[in-house]
């Protein structure tokens, strides 16, 4: 199939065919990455700006590496949203980008919809690298690639996403992507961290981690932000860990084969025990990181599709 999108803003409206096509394309780039010189000239002469308004070493490195592997010229812009007056900086920056005739922009921003807004300001392609609590499509794609690597399929698999769903763009993109691909999704969190009317996503909702684990083939743990505690989403980190932490004891009690994922960085001993994160009988967390580069290469390649020949 040909990939017709100009932007990748989220997975909510991306079809199963498109997702499959991205995953398959990423597979071919994994081969490229395995070569002695893991570099192709695909995006030579094209300029990509990485616009990071929010600190994210992992995602930014992953995109940068993907861009270098595709031989693109890259510019990096990072600042924290809090240091610039809200609203002004994105418009100003967008105007500069437009003046520099940039082909693609990878944006991470604390405001949901910031990438959508950017598409109104510039002519190039926009890739959402995480917009507030909204979406993080390349993360969900790399998660799906990792799952598919291990199980060879997605349809019918049961995935439990455990943690702060309310504030998680990773959760939303995975809910959209996984359900589109026919997986069964469950959400598990303290009720304060379950979004309003979340059941309308056609997901199961648990407030009990043991039930979520019993349901799942794959457990996707989410990072807990320490400051949520002071906002009373849960009383203490201690209580969070005791009631929602994913531990070896819980897995042993469930007595089943299970795969553990985490978008990183992990709060070890809070949402996920250290020994589980590092145990490759369970954890595919490092595969996620490797697949991240391949997925981002695939997305850049497909959105820059008309650039080749």
């Amino acid at each position: 199939m040909s990939f017709k999108r100009k932007h990748l803003l989220g997975l909510e409206d991306v079809s199963a065919e498109e997702i499959t096509h991205i995953l398959n394309t990423a597979e071919t780039f994994k081969e490229v990455l395995a070569r002695p010189i893991p570099k192709v000239p695909t995006l030579r002469g094209k300029t990509i700006v990485n616009l990071f308004y929010e600190a994210s070493t992992r995602t930014r490195f992953s995109f940068e590496l993907a861009e270098k592997r595709l031989s693109a010229d890259t510019l990096n812009f990072s600042t924290s949203t809090s240091s610039v007056k809200k609203g002004e900086s994105l418009r100003d920056t967008a105007q500069n980008i437009e003046a520099m005739k940039v082909d693609m922009v990878v944006i991470r921003h604390s405001a949901p919809g910031a990438p959508h807004y950017l598409t109104q300001c510039i002519k190039g392609s926009v890739i959402n690298a995480g917009d507030g609590c909204h979406e993080h499509p390349t993360q969900a794609l790399l998660d799906m690639l990792t799952i598919r690597d291990k199980y060879k399929y997605l349809k019918g698999l049961r995935v439990a996403i455990i943690g702060d769903i309310l504030h998680s763009r990773v959760a939303r993109s995975n809910i959209y992507g996984l359900t589109t691909m026919g997986a069964e999704v469950a959400l598990c969190a303290p009720q304060t961290m379950i979004p309003y009317e979340a059941e309308k996503w056609n997901v199961r909702i648990f407030n009990d981690v043991d039930e979520a684990i019993a349901f799942a083939d794959i457990v996707m743990a989410l990072r807990i932000q320490m400051e949520r505690q002071t906002q009373n989403f849960f009383p203490t980190l201690r209580e969070y860990h005791n009631y929602f932490g994913i531990t070896k004891e819980r897995l042993d009690r469930a007595n089943k084969k299970i795969t553990i994922m985490h978008p990183g960085p992990i709060n070890r001993g809070i949402e996920l025990d250290s020994d589980l994160a590092d145990d490759d009988r369970y954890s595919v967390i490092l595969n996620q990181v490797t697949n991240g580069v391949a997925i981002r290469m695939a997305v850049l390649y497909l959105l820059g599709g008309e650039l080749q020949e």
Binding site: G87, E88, R91, A111, P112, Y117, G132, Y196
Partner: protein
């Protein structure tokens, strides 16, 4: 006649017009003779025209008593770049209004005699009438009562800390008790600040999808419930500003049944749009109260129909292009509404048969004047010619670049609306809207 300026209504004959007011049969047409800004006579339409003044053939048009928008923000003093009293008045006249109540969140706030006097002075000898609403509390800070008696003396017709609720229940109790002495309403923006937090849109499945912080409907409901209880307890007059939730409509309905002195208003955007519109992340769909879901919109329409909601207001809230042109969460709340209100009322309420033009006159003229304790205009010989003339077949397309407001923040750009304001008359002046 020039469209851009109003002119003296010295001698005008409005011919062949259908009158929408008490006592007139809508099947008949009338000739309204206006001399020196007053209605001199109203006769059944006849052919003879020995009248030596301007004659305007209004066949097919409707004459309504002049419409009053009891909730607008004109930004003067303080943000004249967004709107001035005069540009706001111009926008309102183009939308078919002859009067408006300005909210006090100006800079400085309308919490003292000088600002009220400035507003009234600025609008002296103008077609458009402004009835200022004053702040309940000093600088709208919610801490100390403003000098209410003096403000009423100066010309304030109501009190409001619009933009937020008076969080302190004791202070609101005092305001309700104190304002009873002048028989003016306390207009409350009903919103529990803690429940709303830093919310950007209605809390519902759409906000969950978009990852935008939600403003739950119940944040409005709990304050409406509190306010109704305080109004009952004090016997004060409470008016619920821009009601937007099913819960609030139900509470007001029950309170009216109980005999509590409560009235309520709703905006055209709250009966025309749902939170689904926010999926575009277009900040022109960001307002407070936020666009709600289908069931709430249905409740607003039901409330308008059964009389629970007394008034239709625009909450006209101009913002500069620079401020609105931003990510959704960074943009300010509010949209302009004066020039689209009548068209939306026609499209959403009159055309579908929910309300008649007679009902609209109640919601946009008679009830607002009554709520404020003012005398509403009447189409009657001897009265001031305070009229709104509309073209019920004047379909037009909303063009944000072609508006009288200084701001452009409308979510209705590109909408086709079935009805348009044609002209307004008031205070001895006449204004013909551009076609």
């Amino acid at each position: 006649m020039s469209g851009s300026k109003f002119q003296k209504a010295e001698k005008i004959l409005l011919k062949n017009v259908t009158i929408i007011d008490d006592g007139y049969n809508e099947q008949k047409q009338w000739d309204i003779f206006i001399i020196d800004g007053k209605i001199n006579a109203i006769n059944p339409t006849s052919e003879k025209t020995d009248f030596n003044g301007a004659v305007l053939d209004l066949s097919g048009k409707l004459a309504l008593p002049g419409l009053l928008d009891m909730h607008v923000h004109f930004r003067e003093p303080g943000r004249e770049d967004e709107e001035t009293l005069k540009s706001g008045a111009h926008s309102a006249m183009a939308g078919g209004f002859t009067a408006a109540c300005t909210m006090p969140n100006t800079n400085p706030a309308t919490d003292n005699r000088e600002v009220i006097e400035f507003i009234l002075d600025e609008m002296k000898n103008h077609l458009f009438s402004i009835y200022p609403i004053a702040a309940i509390t000093k600088d709208q800070q919610g801490e100390k009562l403003a000098e209410m008696a003096e403000l009423v003396d100066a010309g304030a017709v109501a009190f409001s800390d619009d933009g937020k609720s008076v969080a302190n229940s004791l202070l609101l109790r005092r305001a309700l008790e104190y304002s009873k002495m002048f028989n003016v309403p306390i207009i409350e923006h009903c919103e529990d600040a803690h429940l709303v937090g830093s919310g950007d849109m209605h809390e519902g499945f759409v906000s969950s999808n978009l990852g935008l912080a939600g403003m739950p409907a119940i944040a409005e409901d709990v304050i409406v419930a509190r306010n109704l209880m305080l109004a009952e307890y004090t016997g004060g007059k409470i008016h619920i500003a821009h009601i937007s939730t099913k819960g609030a409509v139900d509470l007001v309905r029950q309170a009216k049944d109980k005999g509590i002195d409560v009235t309520a208003e709703a905006t055209p955007h709250h009966f025309s749009l749902t939170d689904e519109a926010v999926r575009s992340f277009d900040s022109n769909f960001k307002m407070n109260p936020p666009l709600r879901s289908e069931e709430h919109v249905a409740a607003i329409i039901e409330g308008l129909k059964d009389g629970t909601i007394d008034a239709i207001v625009t909450d006209h809230a101009p913002h500069s292009i620079e401020e609105k042109d931003a990510e959704f969460s960074a943009a300010p709340f509010g949209i302009i509404g004066l020039e689209t209100a009548l068209g939306l009322v026609a499209k959403q309420l009159v055309k579908p048969g929910i309300l008649s033009w007679q009902d609209i006159v109640q919601k946009m003229c008679k009830n607002p004047y009554r709520i404020l304790g003012l005398e509403a205009p009447q189409i009657k010989a001897g009265e001031i010619a305070n009229l709104t003339i509309i073209d019920p077949a004047g379909e037009w397309e909303v063009d944000k670049f072609n508006m009288k407001s200084r701001s452009r923040n409308t979510p209705f750009h590109g909408w086709k609306l079935p009805v348009r304001a044609f002209a307004v008359l008031n205070n001895g002046y006449f204004y013909l809207a551009e076609k």
